[in-house]
Amino acid sequence: MENLIALLIAAPLLGAAVLLCGGRRLDRTGHWIGTLLAGASFVVGVVLFTDMLGRGAEDRTLHQRLFSWIPVEGFQADVAFQLDQLSMTFVLLITGVGTLIHIYSIGYMEHDERRRRFFGYLNLFLAAMLLLVIADNYLLLYVGWEGVGLASYLLIGFWQHKPSAATAAKKAFLVNRVGDMGLSIAIMLMFTTFGTFAFGPVLGSTGETSEGKLTAIGLMLLLAACGKSAQVPLQSWLGDAMEGPTPVSALIHAATMVTAGVYLIVRSGAIFDGAPDAQLAVVVVGAVTLLFGAIVGCAKDDIKKALAGSTMSQIGYMILAAGLGPVGYVFAIMHLVTHGFFKAGLFLGAGSVMHGMNDEVDMRKYGGLRKYMPVTFVTFGLGYLAIIGFPGLSGFFSKDKIIEAAFAKGGTEGWILGSVALLGAAITAFYMTRVMLLTFFGEERWRHAATPSPAEPDVEPAAETGGDHSEPHPHESPRSMTVPMIVLAFGSVFAGGFFSIGDRFLHWLEPVTGHDHGHAPVSATTVTAATMVVLVVGVAIAWAMYGRRPVPAVAPRGSLLTRAARRDLLQDDFNHVVLVRGGEHLTRSLVYVDHTLVDGVVNGTAASMGGLSGRLRTLQNGYARSYAVSMFGGAVVLIAATLLMRAV
């Protein structure tokens, strides 16, 4: 069985290699190859899963060691895999959702002449992501970590002819690099502390080192997580990442890659358990992002960016949960999975809408689409209900657990976190309802939206294929796109219930992550009730604002907060002013310094030599007598010096 693990990666990797090197002759069949190999990987995953279920809870961890990667004195890095329940969960999520999205893309990218390459990139992403989750040491994880970063770079910038896309891709990679810096420093710290960075030894011996070390490692890991999972302060790239094709947003920037941070923290639970300060930092980041994302999500008119904000906020929940320690690990992962289903579903829905609307992304130009694209409407609606935590659907279970856990943290912290989580739930309900209403209900604003949308600071001209502004004819998407949406809708409806009934998921993961119930100051039922209340409130407000009144096709100026939220709460402006401008000035001045100062010294010496030479050669004035003078003087000096030498 162990030997199958490598196959998980091999299949999509092969796909990537074939598709990217294959050349034009694969254009016709490329997408099928890609999908097939993704599917194959999924099948392998399922096989391994069934096998794993067949074992006892304790020996469910599989290992496979391929070869010694970097053997250097005192430094051992192997290419080796470790597949336990946690990894398994991810494997299934990644390959499953991944395969679905491959299928979806077949239809979505139909008219793109570079579809083959698109599938190549998708496969590359799958391979990297799988490597990330089944690596058995941090260095190998790092490889996958940057690998997914590369894939996301390539996919965000897939439509490279659009400067905005290229810029967004670059930004994503750079911000991630900042996070990666954290990860690599963390690995170095592990090396100096434990002499290794394999999961087993490191996590096994956290007890033997100081809390300070662990805190340092933990914070560095958190930095990495922030980069990858778009948490404050490194969240700025996710919004722009929506420049990528929608399937990419669904797979990478909603379901899988962005959750890698959560995986990292949960995987390194042992370290965080030993470092309360680091944990605190984690929960704070989670809580802040939770609100941040939600607020941003409220203000965006671009449907994908609204969803992106929501993603941020939901991952905030997960990080928060992960920061709570054993209390929350399981729920973090659980929410991660359910979120994977419904957020992917929502994105695919959004994609389907755009597909039918000439790639228009501005929700103010939607409206009343429910009768034109019923399937999309239904699946999107289910996803919507799931995410706001409508009782019985996935989100209800997973998010509810997190809120409980937040309270269970105990003390004032507990109260603060819990109420933040609740508030987040309310806002979630609000902005998702807003999206729903703007898109599928109300009057059909697109009918008279033939005019190009007025330039707004936050809305990129996101016509992905240079969308023409003639009046769109909304229509349902082809089968290849609807089927994945339906499947995901199922997931978003039932997954939560399936996991929670009898704490299946808890028991499944417990051996890896451990679990304790904490001591909730308030009973679970009260929390649920509170959640329900805030949920209703949120929906109601949204209805009041967008359901009852007609929506202006052009966004009103809005309150200060709204405007700030449209601009990602000015975070980007900050980056721009401080980092970009500052950086430009720095580099310019350095170029100047290099040219004038450093190089100037060199050229200066040369020049001064020349000057000296020029002055000296005037002594050679061509008059024999002055030559004689110099000789005579020389002789005098010579004699004087000799005598002097004897004198002293």
């Binding site: 110099s630 000789m631 000799t642």
Partner: protein
């Protein structure tokens, strides 16, 4: 001073003069065999004069060239023979009544001088470079040195196809002087040898075929300054004589060491008077430093090098340096070792200013011959560093360096003679632009010489520089080594400049052409290149040679 005292002086002096009949006069014994090199050269030189007088003009050129080459070859053979007989090492001794030393350094330097003169003479004899005027090929010397430039008599002489074949005997005389100079074992011989090799050079400088005004000017400057310096030398000799009562190196050395046999009480006041010694020594030193062209006695070098006919410049630059440094070494190692600690700081200073001065001023030169002149000054500085080392190692390193340097120099100047335009040699640097494009081989050869001057590894220049610096460092003159490397870095700049000019800049439309020389000049250049590369890659044999020759006889 009382009359009696004076009288007593007379009588004592008379006592010397009216000695017993038995030892009134002892006939000097001259070891002709051991002086053979010099005698051959001088003899043939005299013969050459006779040739000028009696051989018809038509045949003179051939005769003279033949005689000269034969003479030099024979002399060299004689030197080799002497060395083979072990005169360089075990039975090195003083010949000719203490006038001439026959020892390692002497023979080595004589050999070098002879070989260098040989190749130099080839360039003297070169007749293919100037376009033939009136149907007869001409060399680089005036048709008739006496005739005024541009006058009818000159034109007539040119038309008649006269050539100054006197140059060959002159060269031979000069060579003879150079052979004796490093071997001279008493100050008088030193002085005479100096004059013997200087006077012909003064003349040779004056008789260029083209640019005669500059040629004459250079001759005047060289002559005046040269005799000025030799006057200093002579006065120095006088003072040393006054100090030691003798002019023989050994005798002076004894007095300096204080191991003198008998002190004549009457002379106690002058005998061993250090003021005389120091001043005299310094003045002699100055005379020699003038010849090697060390700062501040260097100022004649650029002008003379530039004005003199290029073959003469090459000969002068190479052979004079060899001879002069030989004499300098002998003086310092044989006569004044007792003064090492007094002279060393002075020499140290001279070496420093020479290295730096030469290198720095050369940077801004625009005439290739002047450039090489300054480079030769800088090199004099390097060699001085070896001289200062004051160790057998130092001596041999200097000998080696001299051998290396002289051949490269002759070769370089030979190349300069090839690059010509309407006005004769095109020595202005701007005209050398793009030479590498027009005739890559010539440019490449010249580049090799320049790199050797610059002391780039795998060329002889590097071996020499390394040997000298190593000796200096061993001799505890680390500071000199540092200054040396700094000034070689500076010097590198202008050598590189020339290379840049030749290879990296577009040729000028009115640029010079490269004349295709006769085998004579080709030989000169080929020898230069061969020596440069061989001594760069495998210098061991010659280092051994110089090493064995590193001991002076007293």
């Amino acid at each position: 001073m009382s009359a009696t005292a004076v009288h007593s002086l007379w009588t004592t002096a008379g006592g010397v003069t009216s000695a017993a009949p038995g030892d009134r006069f002892t006939a000097p014994t001259i070891e002709y065999a051991q002086l053979a090199p010099v005698l051959i050269v001088v003899g043939v030189a005299v013969l050459g004069v006779l040739v000028e007088a009696f051989v018809p003009r038509r045949a003179r050129y051939t005769t003279q060239v033949f005689l000269t080459v034969v003479a030099l070859a024979a002399a060299f053979a004689a030197v080799v023979g002497l060395a083979a007989d072990g005169y360089a090492t075990k039975n090195a001794h003083i010949a000719a009544m203490g006038a001439v030393a026959v020892d390692g350094p002497a023979l080595f330097l004589q050999g070098t001088v002879l070989l260098v003169s040989m190749v130099a003479v080839f360039t003297f004899a070169e007749r293919r470079l100037d376009p033939a005027s009136h149907g007869n090929r001409v060399d680089s010397f005036a048709a008739q040195a006496g005739s005024v430039p541009g006058s009818d008599s000159e034109k007539a002489a040119v038309r008649a196809g006269f050539t100054t074949t006197e140059v060959f005997p002159l060269v031979l005389f000069s060579v003879a002087g150079m052979l004796v100079f490093p071997a001279a074992n008493d100050l008088l011989t030193l002085f005479v040898a100096l004059e013997v090799f200087s006077l012909p050079l003064y003349l040779l400088c004056a008789i260029a075929r083209r640019k005669r005004l500059m040629s004459q000017e250079s001759a005047v400057k060289y002559f005046l300054l040269g005799s000025f310096s030799s006057a200093f030398l002579l006065f120095g000799i006088a003072l040393l004589y006054g100090y030691a009562g003798t002019v023989s190196y050994a005798g002076i050395a004894d007095v300096v060491d204080g191991t003198v046999q008998q002190i004549d009480p009457a002379l106690a006041d002058t005998m061993g008077n250090d003021a005389l010694l120091l001043i005299g020594g310094a003045m002699i030193l100055m005379g020699l430093l003038f010849k090697v062209g060390a700062v501040p006695f260097h100022m004649w070098t650029p002008d003379v090098y530039q004005g003199a006919p290029t073959p003469v410049t090459g000969f002068m630059a190479a052979a004079t340096k060899v001879a002069a440094f030989g004499a300098l070494l002998r003086l310092l190692y044989v006569v004044l070792p007792g003064l090492t600690w007094d002279l060393r700081p002075v020499m140290y200073g001279v070496a420093v200013v020479t290295m730096l001065g030469g290198a720095v001023v050369a940077i801004t030169q625009t005439d290739i011959k002047r450039l090489l002149a300054y480079s030769s000054i800088a090199h004099a500085g390097f060699i001085l560093a070896g001289v200062i080392a004051a160790s057998p190692d130092g001596v041999s390193s200097v000998l080696f360096y001299l051998g290396v340097y002289s051949f490269v120099t002759v070769g370089a100047f030979a190349v300069v003679t090839l690059v010509r335009d309407a006005g004769g040699e095109a020595t202005h640097l701007s005209k050398w632009a793009g030479l590498g494009r027009r005739s890559p081989l010539t440019a490449a050869v010249f580049a090799v010489f320049l790199l050797s001057f610059a002391g780039i590894p795998l060329t002889s220049g590097f071996s020499g520089k390394f040997a000298v610096f190593k000796a200096a460092a061993d001799g505890g003159a680390a500071g000199l080594v540092v200054v040396g490397v700094i000034s070689s870095a500076i010097a590198a700049f202008f050598y590189i400049r020339v290379i840049v000019l030749m290879f990296f800049s577009e040729p000028r439309a009115d640029g010079p052409t490269v004349a295709v020389p006769s085998p004579l000049t080709m030989t000169t250049i080929a020898v230069g290149v061969a020596v440069t590369l061989v001594l760069g890659l495998a210098p061991q044999y010659f280092l051994d040679l110089a090493g064995q020759a590193g001991v002076f006889v007293r």
